[in-house]
Amino acid sequence: MSVADNSPASRGRGGIHGKLSKLRHAREFNVLIALVMMGGAISVFTPYFLTVDNLMGVSRAFSLTAIMAIGMVMVIITGGIDLSVGSAMGLAGLVTALCFDSGYGQVSAVAAGLSVGAVFGLANGLLVTGIGLPPFIATLGTLSIGRGLMYMITHGVPLTPKTPDSFTILGQGYIGPVPVPVVILIVLTLIFSLVMIHTRFGRHIYATGGNEGAARLSGVKTQRVKLTVYMLSSLISSLAGVIAFSRYLSAEPASGFGSELDVIAAAAIGGASLSGGIGSVTGAVMGAALIGEIANGVVLLNINTYAQQAITGGVILVAVSLDVFRNRLKGGR
């Protein structure tokens, strides 16, 4: 290799300059730039965009997608995919609602909601590791089962039980100016970033996705790693489901449907490679933020809201294409 390896960046230490330069080489940097530029562009047309009120609103709107993207990106880095996140989310909210409806307290209701995630995660993990189904198929199956169950339980009618006020803090509360879901997002982002970068488990996730055979022969318990990431993904999604229910206090029969696509898109925009081994939690969260920002911009600029999906799609293609080009420039001679 050439010049770059003598730069402070590649040595990974030394001074603020080195840190900055390292940041510039990180894949997440692209997303950050896109985020800032998009924000700049929107605020040229409407000054309201850059107000605390609006930014907090936007953050709360994308926080659920971003929370689920944290779990998703870990699954994707192992080389898998989890299509069932939307179902886990919706069903978790519904089960929480059912518990309140039957008169259980909030602790048991939330616990019941989260246990939905545990069941989804265990099912996905065992189908993938035990039976050896391709993750796409395994989670496609659980996705459909989840959807079916929701229609069977609700008969297509939203469930709106009475809930204690303290429960609504989770989805509707604020800490200072910051909505509680955003606080939860920040905490989870910090925790799982540290896990991915600094722990043995994180390293094993990257190794499993990078080369499963080599990782296994090096003593990494790859099946256990995979089981764990599916568990985490479903648990995190069910937490998102509980938060969503706390926010709207209504368990919709179609809650969470289709959200897996936004979540996967967030991870991909954030630099995760669907073939495994590459990606980051912060990238995925920023990817979700970018999608949220676009949605907000479309509303603020009075663009036809139907165009929002099309714009998001375009952004995904541009973001991932840029990444591919960058790699080609770096790798090719």
Partner: protein, 500 residues
């Protein structure tokens, strides 16, 4: 003989590196011209220029039959009659032999559909020219590696090639298949086709070559008629050092203390099918280097995978006299075993990860407190091994995919040695790495043995097995066919046990 290709003053500069420096190569029609040199000597770059994959720097000239020519790209090279058969096979496994031979130039009938009968007939003709018996309608994935290579050669011939470049064609072939291939190479030459042949195997070079050209550090060193060259001289020209000085003499560090005992190890196959590898029993002593030799398909790698828990098996494994249960690689590792796998790119390394991350993957817990990795300690340990094993990498943060084959192999060895194993299994430790790196790997294994580590070396390279082992076990068709002490292990006896 007439001259076919002449390259003079060929240079190629990559950013920061001069890969080729005024190289000259001249090739006659109907000769087998071996191109020898260490990894990094510039052979691959030269091949890529010949086949139009890379463009040479301005100033050199390429002449074909006396005509100065600018090779514009791979397709143009093919039209000029130049084909290449790569080290890694480039056949599509799920297509048939005929479909592979005519890939992207399928004969078509009047309806514009593929004319299958004609395609199969022409494929059969191409294969018949090679006097090999392969069914043109067979799916390539069902063929042996050697047969797949023959399919590639048939494809090259069907292009009406006048120059075929073969880059280490026997690297993954069994001895028998390699012999078939070298015979075929001679036959093609006798039909007037020029062959550029790249190989690291000395015996093979002398078996096949008419002339030998040596490249060193991107420069042409010499060209000799094969008859005027000896193995010692060739090595000296390649590495600029003496053969003997490179490998040193063998010192045994074997003790009498049995560390590993394998009893009646038999492959367990799903559905109760017959086990191919069976009744493997042997002992391994502390500090001993035990060689495992066998032809391709004899079950060498399978035995090692069974011992390491990566392949289901019945039988007993005892370590230090006590029976142990090994059903996964992590069990084997917990028992103090390490496994340097045959295929470093597929099973040895996570190519997208850095040297440091690959290095520590086997023993990450050592640098962790409460499962959090202490990065400075990890880096320091990695730097230590980079120094002691002389791994050529700009930093521990380099991705291993950017390292040369020999240095990748050292990273694989480092990651196991750092775990301080009691038993180290090394499968084909020197495949595809050059002679100087090979000598270093041998010296390293010797040093590990002197530190009391027991080592099993699996290799299809007979001279290597004989040079390095205290004792040799020979496998044939999934069973142990002979066991020889170093003194008794001659080339002839081992080959006889492997084939007889």
């Amino acid at each position: 003989m007439t001259q076919f290709l002449e390259m003079t003053g060929i240079s190629k500069t990559f950013p920061g590196v001069k890969a080729l420096d005024a190289v000259t190569l001249e090739l006659q029609a109907g000769e087998v011209h071996v191109l020898a040199g260490e990894n990094g000597a510039g052979k691959s770059t030269l091949m890529k220029i010949m086949t139009g994959v890379l463009k040479a720097d301005a100033g050199g000239s390429i002449r074909i039959e006396g005509q100065e020519i600018d090779i514009r790209g791979p397709l143009h090279a093919r039209a000029l009659g130049i084909s290449i058969i790569y080290q890694e096979l480039s056949v599509v496994n799920n297509l048939t032999v005929a479909e592979n031979i005519f890939l992207a130039r399928e004969p078509r009938n009047t309806w514009g559909l593929i004319d299958r009968p004609r395609m199969i007939a022409e494929a059969r003709r191409a294969l018949a020219e090679l006097t090999v018996e392969i069914d043109p309608a067979a799916v390539v994935g069902t063929l042996s590696i050697g047969q797949r290579q023959l399919v590639e050669i048939a494809r090259a011939i069907s292009y009406r090639s006048r120059l075929i470049i073969m880059d280490e064609p026997t690297a993954s072939l069994s001895n028998h298949e390699a012999q078939v291939l070298t015979k075929l190479v001679r036959k093609l030459a006798s039909q007037g086709i020029g062959i550029v042949y790249i190989s690291h195997k000395l015996d093979e070079i002398f078996e096949v070559a008419d002339r030998i050209s040596v490249l060193r550090d991107g420069r042409s060193v010499c060209t000799y008629p094969a008859a005027a060259m000896t193995p010692d001289l060739l090595v000296r020209e390649m590495v600029n050092r003496d053969f003997g000085a490179l490998f040193g003499t063998h010192v045994s560090h074997a003790t009498d203390e049995v560390l590993l005992s394998v009893r009646n190890l038999t492959e367990k196959r799903p559905g109760g099918r017959g086990s191919r590898v069976r009744d493997i029993s042997f002992d391994l002593c502390r500090g001993e280097i035990l060689g495992f030799f066998g032809l391709v398909g004899a079950g060498r790698t399978e035995v090692m995978e069974m011992i390491f828990g990566n392949r289901p098996a019945t039988g007993e494994i005892l370590i230090g006299g006590g029976k142990v249960r090994i059903v996964s690689p992590s069990d084997a590792i917990a028992q103090g075993m390490g496994f340097v796998t045959e295929n470093r790119q597929e099973l040895g390394l996570v190519l997208g990860m850095t040297v440091r991350e690959n290095f520590s993957l086997t023993h990450l817990a050592e640098y962790c407190s409460f499962n959090v990795v202490n990065r400075p300690r990890e880096t320091a340990a990695c730097l230590g091994y980079i120094r002691t094993l002389d791994i050529k990498t700009p930093s521990p943060e380099q991705k291993v995919m950017n390292l040369s084959g020999g240095n990748q192999q050292k990273v694989v060895i480092a990651k196991w040695v750092a775990r301080k194993p009691r038993i180290l299994i090394v499968d084909e430790p020197t495949r595809g790495i050059d002679i100087a790196a090979k000598a270093e790997v041998h010296a390293l294994l010797n040093r590990l043995a002197s530190e009391g580590i027991s080592i099993i070396v699996v290799s299809s390279d007979l001279p290597e097995v004989l040079a390095i082992s205290d004792r040799v076990i020979v496998l044939k068709e999934g069973r142990i066919s002979d066991e020889l002490q170093r003194e008794a292990a001659t080339k002839e006896r081992v080959m006889l046990a492997a084939t007889g």
